[in-house]
Structure formats: structure tokens, C-alpha cells
């Protein structure tokens, strides 16, 4: 069976869940081979988890250079493997770093790039959810290899014990004239709350929250539900909450099991980032707020009395 390459997403010796989703998806197309690009010793920490999720092979590309240059080491390693094993697909995380690797790899190998897929079948037909879920698009690469950027949180992870045979591959020497040098890397650590795009519950606040201090009402409810906290663009622009938590067309797209919108009117801009959520609950003072058009359950009322009461009710049931 053909090898399908999966670029492992890892931070500080931990595998990100997205990698397991990609291994699960890769199994539909062929035999998953995980590709670990990192500093010496990285693969040892990750091997067990990769094998438990279907990686028949693990290509180990380790060198100190992998953290000293921006995206080039990943592109170089994957390009060499594409040449060698002619995979029907290469799956890469769809974050900022991953998309850069994917776009460059597609150019380098002259392969079709399926960006931001939420699903793919055994025939390599990909599904995108675009314009914030307003449209579902089916597409495929017309080339022998498809470069796929995979949107995190799109698929149930399946465990599947596999061999996980490790093979060391070379990290080609980086051409410094063609690459940006990286220093002072500092990954953003999410704290105790789940990551916004991976959370199964999201509690978000909008302009109606009124101030940065008041966001503790949103956070309180989020913590009772083990949820991630989101914010509308209006709230972010007003300085109530940091930019990286923005949900909407110009922010993150989320699709959790439950989305609770507090004081969010529901402009298209915001709906585009959350309307594919399975269940939507909204609290807003304005009975005409457009958010109610897509909410499964809505309360017309003051979020400062409704949200704390809900937090208490959830606490009672915990």
C-alpha cells in the first residue's frame, strides 16, 4: 500500500492532537508514515504515541538546524521524501507554520495544494468549509501527490496500533541565502484552558460584556464547562480580550459541540467563525439580535445575571 506522509505537529516533546487526526485520515488513503522534524532526541519522545495511532513508519529528521531556520528544514525534508516515496498525499497541520510549509512544498514539488481540509476520503477527494462554513467545497489535486493542510478539530481520532518503525533521514543543509534565520522562539502556551480551535465547548463574549474586567463572567462560565474562551471582533477591537481569541471571519473558525455566545449580536463577520458549531446557545439583551437566528436556544436577557446563574447550575451538576 502507498505511503501517506504526515508531518508531526509537536511542541516541547508533546504531540498535538491534530497529528492523530491526520494519521487517522491518512489511513483511509494508504499506510501512514509520520515525519518528525526536530532537534536531536525529539522522535524518541513521540514514537510511542505515533505508533499507537497508526504510524507504520516514522521518518526521523533531526538536526539543530530544524529550529534555526523558518519552515525551510521541514520543506527540504518533505520534498526529499516526496521524491523518494511518491506519496499520494502529504498531510500537514493547517496552522500558520504548517500552511507555509504546505504552500512552499506544493511549489517545490509542483503538486496540487488542498488547503484547510476538514475531510478527505480514500480517493483523495477533499472537503473544505469556506467563508466560515457558508459553503462546503469538494476538490481534488490533479497531481500524483496532493499536499493537504489539515484543519484541526475536524475528525474523531482513532487509535490503531502500528509498527512505528523508525528510519533516520537526512536534514539537508539549509541554504542561508534563501532562508530566514530564527532566534528567540517562544511558543504561546495556552494556560489551563483547552485550545480554542480544539475545544469541544467554547464560551465567547462580545461587545455586550462591556469591559476587560467583565470578561471574568465569560471565563467563569467557560471554566465550569472546561471550555475555551472566545471573543467577537467587537470585543477584541475594544480591547476587552486578546486578539488570538477572536472568533470570526478575520479570526479563528471554530466548530465545537457547544458554543455559548454572551453579549454577541451575531454579525456575519462573527457568524462566519462559529456557525458550524453543533449546538449554539445565545444570551443577548436585544431580542432582534441576529445571533438568535442561528441559536438553538436563546435567552433574551442580561448576561450578567444569566451567565453566573448558569455557571452555578453547571457547578451543581459537576
Amino acid at each position: 500500500m502507498a505511503e501517506v506522509l504526515v508531518l508531526v505537529d509537536h511542541v516541547d516533546g508533546e504531540i498535538k492532537k491534530n497529528t492523530y487526526e491526520m494519521l487517522t485520515a491518512a489511513r483511509r488513503i494508504g499506510e501512514p508514515s509520520a515525519v518528525v522534524v526536530g532537534t536531536p532526541g525529539t522522535a524518541t519522545k513521540l514514537a510511542e504515541g505515533l505508533a499507537a495511532h497508526g504510524a507504520e513508519k516514522i521518518y526521523v529528521a533531526e538536526s539543530d538546524d530544524t529550529v534555526n531556520y523558518l519552515s525551510t528544514p521541514q520543506v527540504d525534508v518533505l520534498a526529499a521524501l516526496v521524491e523518494r516515496v511518491s506519496p499520494p498525499a502529504v498531510l500537514i497541520p493547517a496552522g500558520a507554520d504548517g500552511r507555509e510549509v504546505a504552500g512552499r512544498l506544493a511549489v517545490r514539488t509542483n503538486s496540487g495544494w488542498l488547503n484547510d481540509l476538514v475531510d478527505i476520503d480514500g480517493e483523495r477527494a477533499g472537503t473544505h468549509s469556506i467563508f466560515g462554513g457558508a459553503f462546503t467545497v469538494q476538490s481534488r489535486a490533479t497531481t500524483d501527490t496532493a499536499i493537504v493542510s489539515w484543519r484541526s478539530g475536524s475528525l474523531e481520532v482513532e487509535e490503531n496500533a502500528a509498527a512505528g518503525t523508525q528510519e533516520t533521514v537526512e536534514v539537508p543543509a539549509t541554504d542561508a541565502a534563501k532562508s530566514a534565520k530564527v532566534s528567540n522562539r517562544a511558543p504561546i502556551v495556552g494556560g489551563d484552558r483547552p485550545e480554542l480551535t480544539e475545544a469541544s465547548v467554547v464560551v465567547a463574549g462580545g461587545r455586550g460584556v462591556g469591559s476587560a474586567d467583565n470578561f471574568n463572567v465569560v471565563e467563569g462560565l467557560a471554566d465550569s464547562l472546561h471550555a475555551a474562551v472566545g471573543a467577537s471582533r467587537a470585543a477584541v477591537d475594544s480591547g476587552y480580550y486578546p486578539n488570538q481569541f477572536q472568533v470570526g471571519q478575520t479570526g479563528k473558525t471554530v466548530s465545537p459541540q457547544l458554543y455559548i455566545a454572551l453579549g454577541i449580536s451575531g454579525a456575519i463577520q462573527h457568524r462566519a467563525g462559529m456557525q458550524t458549531s453543533k449546538t449554539i446557545v445565545a444570551v443577548n439583551k436585544d431580542p432582534e439580535a441576529p445571533i438568535f437566528e442561528i441559536a438553538d436556544f436563546g435567552i433574551v436577557g442580561d448576561l450578567f445575571s444569566v451567565a453566573p446563574q448558569l455557571t452555578e447550575e453547571v457547578g451543581k451538576r459537576a
Binding site: 523558518l70 496552522g95 500558520a96 500552511r99 507555509e100 504546505a102 504552500g103 512552499r104 506544493a106 511549489v107 517545490r108 509542483n110 503538486s111 496540487g112 495544494w113 488542498l114 457558508a134 459553503f135 462546503t136 467545497v137 481534488r140 490533479t142 542561508a176 541565502a177 534563501k178 532562508s179 530566514a180 534565520k181 532566534s183 528567540n184 522562539r185 517562544a186 511558543p187 504561546i188 486578539n243 478575520t250 457547544l258 454579525a267 456575519i268 463577520q269 456557525q275 449546538t279 446557545v281 444570551v283 431580542p287 437566528e293 442561528i294 441559536a295 438553538d296 436556544f297 436563546g298 435567552i299 433574551v300 436577557g301 445575571s305 446563574q309 448558569l310 452555578e312 447550575e313 453547571v314
Partner: protein, 260 residues
């Protein structure tokens, strides 16, 4: 210093966006078109470099006739001239085909030191144009820059993404994509708007770039769109007035849905 700034006209994210039935591409006629906000920041950054040490700033875009509005806006902010690749053959190009067109067009501007672009357009959202251009041109790409300094043939940037921050450094020529926090773009002055009308805009077709129609557009794209469907509209569910028990009512609903 010779700087090229890439700009793109996109559908306004505050309006509804659609795809066209025929060739499954973005229906650009159905929504308001605006200069993508992030591009204004790229233009601003180029103008800052120009003001600090002298530079010629060329605006580059690939798009239909109406993209001239976006070009004029960038020129009215203070850019010197523009190149507009306008050819029906480009319609439907995927990200890679677009990158090929832009790379060739950059080649027409002369010895370019720096290419500036937004880090991600609000419509296509591939977020990788700078990286792809760097790959095609054989130049380093410094992406998601929230601070940029260019001196002595070197570009230094502070990079910030959702994944983390880092410092970047590369020799020129280079491609830089800017993030939302890099600056606050200026508003065009009345004088700037008047001056923009006289600034040169070179219009090029793909033949001028030495490209064949089979390399661009739907024909040259390595990805084919099979079908698309609007998502079934979600209808509102229950809406109740809070009578002091709103929180409890939501809790009941969530229990009913087995969500808590």
C-alpha cells in the same frame, strides 16, 4: 531601495460572500470589493521605509478591471507606481498559479530588494503567498512580521502567529509578509488622492510575463473543484425572555441535549 507591495482586492467580510455556479470560483460581483485591510499595512510599511531612507514603491496586483480601485487607494496613500496584471486567463487560478503570475510580474519591476505582502487575505486565506513567492524567486521569506527593520542589506522581523513569537533575520532580496499589529495605515490625503490619478499604472497580460494560458487560471491550476454546496441554513430554535431563571433554563436545555 526598490520595493514591491502586493495588494489584493477582496470581498468585504462584512457583506455576504458567494461562489458562482458556472466555474465554481468566487462570485466577485455579488459582494462589495475592498482593498484587503492587511494590504494597507503592507503599503504603510513600505512608505515608512521610503520616508526613512528613500525607496521606490511599486504596487502589484493581479485581478480584473475593478482592481484599479484598490490600486488607486494604494497610490493615494503614497506609493509611486503600479503594475496591474489583468488578463481573463488568470481567472480561477489557484494559490500556486497566482504565485507564479506574481513572481513573473515582480521580475518586470527590475532589481527588487524587498517584496511586502499581507500575511493572509480574508478570502482565500491560504496564508502562504509570501512563502510560495520566496520559493519561486529563491529568496528568503520572513512571515507574519509585527515589526520590521531593513538596513545594510538585511531584513529583521519580529514574527508573531497564534503558535508563538520569534525573531527572524535574512539577507535581501527577501519577501516579507506583515501581520495585523505592524502599524496603523495612514488615510490618503486629498493631495494624495489627486496625485494618485497621475501616477503610472502599467497593465500587463500573461503573454507579457512570458506565461502561457495553460499555466494559469483554471487550466493551469493543480487543484480541481468538483462541487460546492451552500450549507443548509440553520434555523433559530427556542428564544425565551429571561424572568430571573434564564441561567437555569439554559442548564435544563443543555441537560436535555446531554451536553452537561
Amino acid at each position: 531601495m526598490n520595493i514591491v507591495v502586493l495588494i489584493k482586492q477582496v470581498p468585504d467580510t462584512w457583506s455576504e460572500r458567494k461562489l458562482s455556479d458556472g466555474d465554481k470560483t468566487l462570485d466577485r460581483a455579488s459582494s462589495d470589493a475592498v482593498l484587503d485591510e492587511i494590504n494597507e499595512r503592507a503599503v504603510e510599511e513600505a512608505l515608512k521605509i521610503k520616508e526613512a531612507g528613500g525607496a521606490e514603491v511599486t504596487i502589484l496586483t493581479a485581478g480584473p478591471d475593478r482592481a484599479t480601485d484598490a490600486i488607486r487607494k494604494a497610490l493615494s496613500m503614497g506609493a509611486d507606481k503600479a503594475v496591474h496584471v489583468n488578463d481573463d486567463a488568470i481567472h480561477g487560478s489557484d494559490a500556486i498559479a497566482t504565485a507564479k503570475v506574481l513572481a513573473k510580474a515582480i521580475g518586470t519591476v527590475g532589481d527588487v530588494d524587498l517584496v511586502l505582502a499581507g500575511n493572509e487575505a480574508t478570502d482565500g486565506r491560504s496564508g502562504a503567498m509570501a512563502g510560495m513567492l520566496g520559493e519561486l524567486l529563491g529568496w528568503p521569506s520572513l512571515t507574519h512580521a509585527n515589526e520590521l527593520t531593513v538596513e545594510n542589506g538585511t531584513a529583521k522581523a519580529k514574527r508573531e502567529t497564534d503558535e508563538g513569537t520569534s525573531d527572524l533575520e535574512a539577507s535581501l532580496p527577501a519577501v516579507v509578509s506583515v501581520g495585523e499589529k505592524i502599524n496603523e495605515p495612514r488615510y490618503p490625503s486629498f493631495k494624495g488622492i489627486m496625485a494618485a490619478k497621475k501616477k503610472p499604472v502599467t497593465t500587463l497580460g500573461i503573454a507579457d510575463l512570458g506565461l502561457d494560458a495553460s499555466e494559469v487560471g483554471l487550466a493551469g491550476s493543480l487543484v480541481q473543484v468538483d462541487s460546492f454546496a451552500p450549507r443548509p441554513p440553520k434555523s433559530g430554535g427556542q428564544k425565551v425572555e429571561d424572568e430571573g431563571d434564564g441561567g437555569a433554563k439554559i442548564a435544563e436545555f443543555l441537560v436535555g441535549q446531554k451536553l452537561i
